[in-house]
Subunit: 254 residues, 2 copies
């Protein structure tokens, strides 16, 4: 079995304000562009639009850095107010050296700066935090999109994360609904009947990265439609992107 | 600017023997399937077909494990002959615990088992090593494909690597030609004129992962065509996937 995938950015999604429904806005923009969204599709949405709709933005002017944030900020040459926000969103610091602050977020992701940044957020000192529970956000988005279109595509919320050992960022899934994030090949065999070495594929991360290729970061295009990935989609919402988190006991690098 | 990408597996690429030309075999299979390959396309090829063509396969029956391999194998519960091959392909061991052997390969990649595995390799005890220089392999593939088709698409050689912190593997680029592996956004701004947080995007890795979505691992389909990614392609071969390697001085996790 092989597949043909098609990946297309949804043009014309407007700036999202707190309390608005990204699902409804994406549905309307897709409609205006003549893009029909089907149950079998996957819609990949950037974290930023979800965070803005959920009010997960902060003005650095309102942040009072504590002594720990001040100390780390001085050592890493970062804005102490930003560091205060990062620490408040984190369970623990994984690395704080060479200007880089890598943490484990309250939600369980390991990433730089707890995923907090200022790009594509209006306001001079405004930053966006990650959604509090991006799997719940993805389920909500899916419902909202269904209410607006009658279709119930799979939904992935994506953010750009760096990686150890390799330069550059790739988009990965931090929330999803209606898609199995991991395609487990354990127990299956190749055409010679030998066990496969690639035992499990992080499909949701590969889909998030694929969607990023259709998005121009400068334009902030926040939604991308993927057709041809229906073999991983499901009517139920499934386990969410939480299934992608490697537990501490299985992890050699924290 | 947005893009529409299309990703399609090339059906019918036969098993590759040592000394055969994967470029010519892929060109022939694409022709039989009516898939025209253009200069603007990206062809993603699995590492395994390249390794087999280059004779980078070993029979475990021919391997005599040394004392270091025997000690590590006993501790990790692995085949000592496989561990001997892994060590021979490695500059150093990054982690050897909990049954996992992560190394830095001679080529500079950090991955489990030096990328050596047995899936989709004929023979009961035969394993495939990574190509010695996958960027050179990609350049050769590109030339061979041009000789066979008259077109000169970009070429990516992909393999499945695991990641710290996240479960599941994703396909990444270990060799490329005719494509800038990193899209550098540093100095560019969002639509508000603010610096972008995603400063550089590992495009070649996102393309490798996207191609994996069109490939069924059981069938071993070794070549995938991507259309719509021409903004990252180039007539010259470019820096290769080596540009994706994070140097030790920039890396916090080895």
């Amino acid at each position: 079995m092989t597949a043909r995938l098609e990946i297309v950015a949804v043009p014309g999604v407007p700036e999202v304000a707190k309390g608005s429904s990204p699902g409804a806005l994406i549905a309307a923009a897709a409609g205006r562009a003549g893009l029909a969204i089907a149950d079998a599709d996957v819609v990949v949405v950037s974290q930023k639009i979800v965070s803005k709709a959920e009010g997960r933005v902060r003005d650095l002017g309102d942040v009072e850095p504590g002594p720990n944030a001040l100390a780390i900020a001085a050592r890493l040459d970062k804005d102490p107010r930003l560091v205060e926000l990062i620490l408040a969103e984190s369970r623990r610091v994984v690395r704080a050296e060479r200007g880089v602050l890598i943490v484990e977020t309250r939600g369980g992701w390991i990433c730089a700066n707890a995923g907090i940044d200022a790009s594509n957020v209006p306001g001079d000192e405004t930053v966006a935090l990650l959604p509090e529970n991006a799997d719940a956000s993805a389920r909500q988005l899916r419902s909202d999109l269904e209410a607006a279109t009658g279709s119930r595509p799979a939904m992935i919320i994506a953010d750009s994360f760096g990686r150890p050992w390799r330069l550059g960022q790739t988009d990965v899934a931090i929330g999803c609904a209606g898609i199995g994030p991991i395609d487990d090949w354990r127990g299956r065999t190749d055409r010679e009947g030998r066990p496969l070495a690639a035992t499990s594929v992080a499909v949701a991360d590969e889909l998030a990265g694929a969607a990023d290729l259709a998005r121009d970061k400068g334009s902030g295009a926040p939604a991308v439609l993927i057709r041809g990935a229906e073999r991983w989609t499901s009517a139920g919402d499934g386990p969410g992107a939480g299934a992608l988190r490697r537990s501490e006991g299985e992890d050699l690098f924290r």
